[in-house]
């Protein structure tokens, strides 16, 4: 589904990703861990289509398309979704209007009819309830004045409504209390199926207890320095990243 090969990316002349290889197949859940500043968000944002990065080498294919050539909206319409580490506030635009606009443009691409106001409300209300979200958030401006946890849940709500094929979640667990974490994890687990792939960027093993990944990668200084099964996350929780960095230097 997603195939990243030898990806090198620089920002303002500074190389941040230094040869990433990553293969994600339908149905898989991958976790990407790694120290602050190692390039996790850069990778996720680049895949979602953010401008301002220079790809100096390598390629990214998604469903056999040259993903790097596609503008962000086309990627989204082709099923790519990123839950932002720092969700953006959009003053003056209600969450409902935002979600409706997004859903309808994606449905249009998929050849589905636009949802009418009633069906949309029913759909969104159901999803909000499952995420323990207050319905009032629909009428408020997107993320404006939302608490940290509300913002993160709002990202998951968008994912649930837009039903992507490749969902990337950038530290969606950070800043959530334990109950909210469970609700979010349930939300993600409900979306798990044989066609959909999920990439979780996280610092915490705790999330991975609820959403058990198929593969765990460790990103350090712009490279994937180790990949393994779910047990790798447990080791990282115990020993930190130091031993891996040493391992890389030795090799």
């Amino acid at each position: 589904m997603l195939s990243v090969k030898n990806l090198h990316v620089a920002v303002e002349g500074k190389e941040i990703l230094r040869g990433i290889d990553l293969d994600v197949r339908p149905g898989e859940v991958h976790a990407i861990m790694g120290p602050n500043g190692s390039g996790k968000s850069t990778l996720a944002q680049l895949l979602a289509g953010r401008e301002g990065y220079q790809v100096t080498a390598g390629s990214v294919r998604y469903l056999d398309m040259d993903m790097l050539a596609m503008p962000p909206e086309e990627r989204a319409r082709a099923g790519v979704f990123l839950a932002f580490q720092y969700p953006v506030e959009i003053p003056g635009v209600s969450n409902a209007l935002f979600l409706k606009t997004a859903l309808n443009s994606i449905r249009k691409q998929r050849g589905l009819p636009e949802l009418d106001a009633m069906d949309f409300l029913t759909l969104v209300r159901d999803k909000m309830k499952l995420l323990g979200m207050d319905e009032k958030l629909l009428q408020r401006a997107v993320n404006e004045g939302f608490s940290g946890g509300e913002k993160k849940r709002n990202e998951i709500l968008q994912m649930a409504v837009l039903e992507p094929s490749l969902a990337m979640l950038d530290e969606t667990d950070s800043g959530l209390d334990i109950d909210a974490l469970k609700l979010v994890a349930d939300g993600v687990n409900r979306m798990r199926n044989a066609e959909r792939a999920i990439v979780l960027v996280t610092h915490y093993q705790r999330l991975l207890e609820f959403i058990v990944p198929d593969v765990v990668h460790v990103l350090s200084q712009g490279r994937i320095v180790k990949s393994g099964g779910a047990e790798l996350a447990v080791e990282l929780e115990q020993y930190g990243y130091g031993w891996l960095e040493n391992e890389v230097q030795v090799s």
């Binding site: 503008p71 989204a76 003053p91 606009t101 443009s105």
Partner: protein, 442 residues
Amino acid sequence: MNAQIESWEKMALERVPQYLAGHGLPWVTRARQSAFERFVAHGFPTRREEEWKYTDVAAIAKRTSLAPDNIPPDPASEAALFAWTLAQESTHLLVFVNGHLSTELSALGELPTGARLESLADLMDSNADLPQALFDQQHEHTVFAALNTALTTDGTVLRLAPGVVLEKPVYLLFVASGHGTAIYPRNIFVLGEGAHATVIEHYFGMLEAHNFTDAVTQISLAAGAGLQHCKLLQEGKDAFHVAGIHAEQAAGSRFASHSFALGGRLARNDITSRLNGAECQCSFDGLYLLDGRQHADHHTRIDHLAPSCTSREHYRGILDGESHGVFSGKVVVHPLAAKTDAHQSNRNLLLSRQAEIDTKPQLEIFADDVKCTHGATVGQLDDDSLFYLRSRGIDAESARSLLIYGFANDIIGRVEAPEMRARIEHLVLDRLPQGDQIKELL
């Protein structure tokens, strides 16, 4: 003094008064003549004057005859006009065509006891109980106000007895349907103690003609009165519009002014309020949405003259094409105005490289123990926000439209009358590339 004004002066003084309202009343004629002399003595303002530094009005005298027109309203356009007002039954509607009230097009509806809503021309012509003071301007802010006094054709006088509350808004529609027509509306709103009303002033140009509107609105609020005033400027593409809205507030009164400048070639609004009594509330909101070669200038002034008053001012501009916006907002806290709470902001969104904004927030404080803030920003659409929207499948143009709409909506959302709010929202969306799509989803 330019030759045009001089030759025109003769005409104005000799001929014009004969078809202007109140020409049988000596005091009206005197007031008109002395105002006209003030206008002639000063002439059109030039950019050498501080208050007109960014706005060049020379084209007005060049392109229009300043003489007020006497074109009778054309009832044939009735159907077209109603499309521009709110549902008739939900307002007290007065329609002025080229400066003259059209009784056919107006629908006053039923007014509560103690409420009077009348045509200024009717009052002057019938020499009814029109207090002369109503027609005097305590503060003639610009020379255009003098010109208006000299040549006022008609307007609305709203008077509410103490305690009277108007449930429905008063909707004043001023239509310009001529070519090179000069229009001088004068509106006077006097609210007694504790009276409340909402007034909408809608200026609408039917044609792309060089019409000129010079409007003055005088507002007097007694203690505890409340007025929500919403001005919607939707003049034709080549129209000139200069207006003053001036309020006097007694203790505990509340004045909310909303100004939406969407149309016209050149627009200048001078909006002021004097907070004369303690614990007044005053809010000035404004939005100018400009493109092409449009020019819109808002000069506002709030005078805090008594203690414990609150003023809030939020002005925003969205400028595309080669448009030019001007915001000059002055808040003056006079020595007696302790415990003033004043906040002012002006934010601007520049959508093109050729668009220009001159913003000048000014705070003058002569009292102690006050809380005052002000600020101005000029920026472009935010890349992070655009990316966020696009990452959800929204195409770049729709994303831009959504962000612009959101920026405007923070101001539109402050209008309390729901129908009016929706109407303005739609007018703004009509101007955005993907506005129709947003409209459908609202």
